[in-house]
């Protein structure tokens, strides 16, 4: 698909910003997201091409504004909801529960 992910040759996306002594992960949730992806992949929920396509189908504005691991989150959610592993309602309910616990 001619999506937002196909960036080669585009202008206007700004300078390349580097970080000295960059850590492997910046946030705890990135660690969990990384491991969730590998685990779900190993569990046979998708192949790498399905996963990449799920990222490509993201809302283009969200794609550009979000980070790499947020792309992974969007793709995993999309795939696991589509294959019936979880429902959107379940996920929202669990988020609400966890938010209450953390409050």
């Amino acid at each position: 698909m001619n999506g937002i992910h196909d960036l080669g040759g585009m202008d206007g996306l700004g300078p390349v910003i580097r970080e000295d002594n960059e850590p492997v992960f910046h946030e705890e949730w990135e660690r969990r997201m990384f491991a969730l992806f590998i685990s779900a992949f190993a569990g046979g929920h998708f192949n790498v091409d399905m996963f990449r396509h799920a990222i490509e189908k993201m809302d283009p504005v969200h794609y550009l504004e979000s980070s790499y691991y947020e792309h992974w989150l969007a793709a995993i959610e999309d795939i696991l909801i589509a294959d019936g592993s979880i429902t959107k309602a379940e996920l929202e309910a669990r988020m609400a529960d966890l938010a209450k616990e953390a409050a």
Binding site: V24, G43, M95, A103
Partner: protein
Amino acid sequence: MSHDHDHGSSMSDTALRVKALESLLSEKGLVDTEAMDELVETYEHKVGPRNGAEVVAKAWTDPAYKDRLLGDATAAIAELGYSGVQGEDMVVVENTPDVHNIVVCTLCSCYPWPTLGLPPVWYKSAPYRSRVVRDPRGVLEEFGVSLPAGKQVRVWDSNAELRYLVLPERPAGTEDMSEEELAGLVTRDSMIGTAVVERPAG
């Protein structure tokens, strides 16, 4: 897309979603939390650019190894114990006085994990992915690398399942250094192609 849901907690919406996802999948027996911990430990502490630096230093000091590396990179890298996820099919491209190589993945963020670890944020960013295929010399200037006009730049867009590692040029003045000392000079960026390996100071 806004992340303005108010869950009344200090966690970001993203962090909360990931936590909820892990909690649900773990409860359903689809993921194992201990396996996840082990994956994080592996990629945060065991896999990284020191692996690639070891490959480069060996290629600099052992011509037969270098031949094997340029001929069948996957097998040669496996000789040093590095293989697997996102390095299943490797290609090593050699910098020379006439050629400078630089690697990108314009469509996503493909990167050789076994030799370099997980990619830095800039490698995955829209600015790098969009610009380096068209203006590699401009991007290299920003990284502090100025190439003579006569040197050929080869950009490698790793759009398929081959993963690319740059074999940088060995700096002059390092003839007496051991393989281990040489590995200490090799940076992550020099193996992506956004840097050259500097001669040690002094």
